[in-house]
Structure formats: structure tokens, C-alpha cells
């Protein structure tokens, strides 16, 4: 069954596969897959949008909705694929990225993440009246909290970015080889079926 036609086609395929792998190795792989990643930072929500692991989504529409799907606000990603906005209200948020041409991705922020920031803000307000105790050297709880939050934010930012990047992997070598294997397997099944006839 492996006539000359097949061998010629096979040669073409091998050339394509190898050139693809070369390209994959040479450039950061980009995919036709879009992702949006969002995290809450104090009372601001940051989002990052990408095509796969590579290219940033520039000028993509970001829609922010509550659980019921009511739109709360909308914006566009900047040149780095980022868009930040203040927490619009204390509900779970659904953030939708519409990168045009049928590309769309979603990210969900549960209520707990948003309430978490809000409670700490509320706590500082409650505790601040107790803070001005007569000791001259003491730093108010509020100040400590601000300092800790600032430091934590600085330390955690790279981690958040790393996490965001790891959530958006491009197709791997394994995926490519696996897919080709599946196709050849199906081909075998088709040939088997036809052969029995």
C-alpha cells in the first residue's frame, strides 16, 4: 500500500514537520489560542492577555461582568496586553477578553478573593481609632499593614507573572508528535475498515 505517491507525500510532511520544529525552537512559540489572566491587588484588578505563551493581545476588548452576566465596565488592553481597573463591586467577577476575529477567553474571580481585600481594608478603618495610643514610637497598625502589603506585593509580583505564564503554555513537542501519531492511527483504522470490504 505504500506506493510511490505516499512516499513523496511523506517526504513533504517530514520537511514540514522539521521546518516547524526549527521554527518552534527558533522563536518563542505563539499559538492561535487566547488567554486572559487576572489577579486582585488591593482594590485594583490587573489583567494580562496573551495569544498562547507569546504575543500580547494589543487593543483587545476586556469586558467585566458580574455573575449574572451584567456588564459592569469595559476597557481595552494596552501594548503589553494589560488592563487594570478598580474593583467595581463586591461580587464575583467574570472577565471576558474579546480579541476580535472570533478569539475569546474568560477568567473568573470568585467572591472570596475580592472580599479578602475588602475585609482587610475594613479592618484598618476599624482599628485606626485605637491606634493613636500615647506611645510616641509606635507605628499604627494601619501603617504596618500598608508596609507589609507593599513589600509583599513587590515580592509576589514576579511569582504572579510566573504563574500567569505557566498557565498559558504553547503547544509542546509532545503535543505535535502525539497529534501526528493519532492521525496515522486513524489512517490505519480507515484502511482496516476499507480492506475488510
Amino acid at each position: 500500500m505504500f506506493n510511490q505517491k505516499t512516499i513523496v507525500c511523506l517526504k513533504l510532511l517530514l520537511t514540514m514537520v522539521f521546518s516547524t520544529l526549527l521554527l518552534l525552537a527558533a522563536s518563542p512559540s505563539q499559538a492561535h489560542r487566547v488567554t486572559i489572566f487576572a489577579w486582585v491587588d488591593m482594590d485594583t484588578i490587573h489583567t494580562e492577555s496573551k495569544f498562547g505563551a507569546g504575543q500580547k493581545v494589543r487593543g483587545g476588548d476586556v469586558l467585566v461582568m458580574d455573575e449574572a452576566g451584567n456588564q459592569l465596565l469595559a476597557g481595552k488592553t494596552d501594548d503589553n496586553g494589560e488592563f487594570s481597573f478598580p474593583v467595581p463591586q463586591k461580587t464575583a467577577l467574570k472577565i471576558v477578553l474579546d480579541a476580535t476575529m472570533g478569539h475569546r477567553a474568560e477568567w473568573f474571580i470568585p467572591l472570596s478573593e475580592i472580599i479578602g481585600t475588602d475585609e482587610s481594608a475594613g479592618a484598618t478603618v476599624e482599628q485606626s481609632p485605637e491606634a493613636p495610643t500615647p506611645s510616641p514610637v509606635t507605628i499604627s497598625t494601619q501603617e504596618i499593614e500598608t508596609i507589609v502589603e507593599k513589600v509583599l506585593e513587590r515580592k509576589l509580583k514576579p511569582m504572579q507573572r510566573m504563574l500567569a505564564a505557566s498557565l498559558q503554555p504553547g503547544p509542546s513537542f509532545r503535543d505535535v508528535v502525539g497529534g501526528i501519531g493519532y492521525i496515522f492511527g486513524l489512517m490505519g483504522v480507515a484502511i482496516w475498515f476499507r480492506y475488510r470490504k
Binding site: L23, L24, H32, V176
Partner: protein, 198 residues
Amino acid sequence: MHISEGVLSGPVLITGIILAAAGTGIGLKKLDFDRIDQAGILSASFFVASLVHVPLGPSNVHLIMNGMVGLLLGWSAFPAILVALTLQAILFQYGGITTLGVNTVIMALPAVVGHYTFRGIVRVNPKAFLPAAFITGALAVLLAGGLAALALISASENFLEAAILLATAHLPVMIIEGIITAFCVGFLKKVQSGVIPV
């Protein structure tokens, strides 16, 4: 060109599934025993082609190669492309499972049109098979863009706007695929002219 989940409305998705099923049925019926190997190999080529990104233009575009698949396979491009798209959806998260039908039609229908265009041109002028291959490769991408824009009407995107955006974004892809298709056909003509349908 791969439309993601949650963009299209129900009726469009169902229409896509019905059309894709019909096309796949015709394609499987027309697939001769000694062409199964070819279909499999072209399906694999289509599967990997989407990983080759074209760093030109304003958007993120990749090769499609539906023209090449259609040129050699005709209606059998439907099952070949359906299989490749399914694997792309599962392994690469390109497009989605619910949009599989629509995406198959978007890419396979222009492939079939390309097949008959190529045969038509070659029948009129048997020497013009290289330009015919170029036209097939480019036309299939252009038509796929048109179909994608048509499907996106339901997503409340303005048809003309989406069509223009898709066409401009895929202009470099059209030219590159035209050249690749012409190159492949030229190569096949020299080595094994029986593969090329006339």
C-alpha cells in the same frame, strides 16, 4: 481563523455541525482505498501547519494549508481537516469542541472550492498549473476568512469590518500559502504527476 468557544450563537454552531457532517459524509464516500494514506498525511500536514506563525501583519496569524489539502483531496478534505481540527482543539486548545463544526466548514469548504478551481484552470490551460496552484492556495485562505466573517455576524461583529480585518490579517498568509502550494504542486508534478488531480 479558529473561532473560540462561547463566541457564536447556538443556531450558527448547529448549522456548522450539520454542514460539516454532510461534507465529511461526502468526503468519506469519495475517499478511495488507495487515497486513504494520502488523506492521512495531508491531515497531518494541516495539523502541523497551524504551528508555523507568520510574524507579519498586525495580528497573530499562522499557516492554514487548506488550499493544498483541498487541491489534492477534493471533498475528502472535509474528513482530513475535521480530524486535524479535532486534535488541534484537544492538544493545542485552538478553537474549541463546540465550534468544531463551524471551523471545519470555514476551512474545508474553501478547500473543496479550491480543488475545482484548480481543475477548472488546468482544464482550460494545461500549462498553467503553477499559477493555478498559487491561486488555489491564496483563494482558499481568502474564502476561509470570508466564511469566518460570515459566522461572526452572529457574534454581533460587523460583517464588513470583520471581513476586512480577517482579509488584511491574512494577506501575508495568502501570498505565502500560494507560493507553498505552487512549490508543492511543481514538485509533485515533477516527481509523481499522478497525485495531481486534473
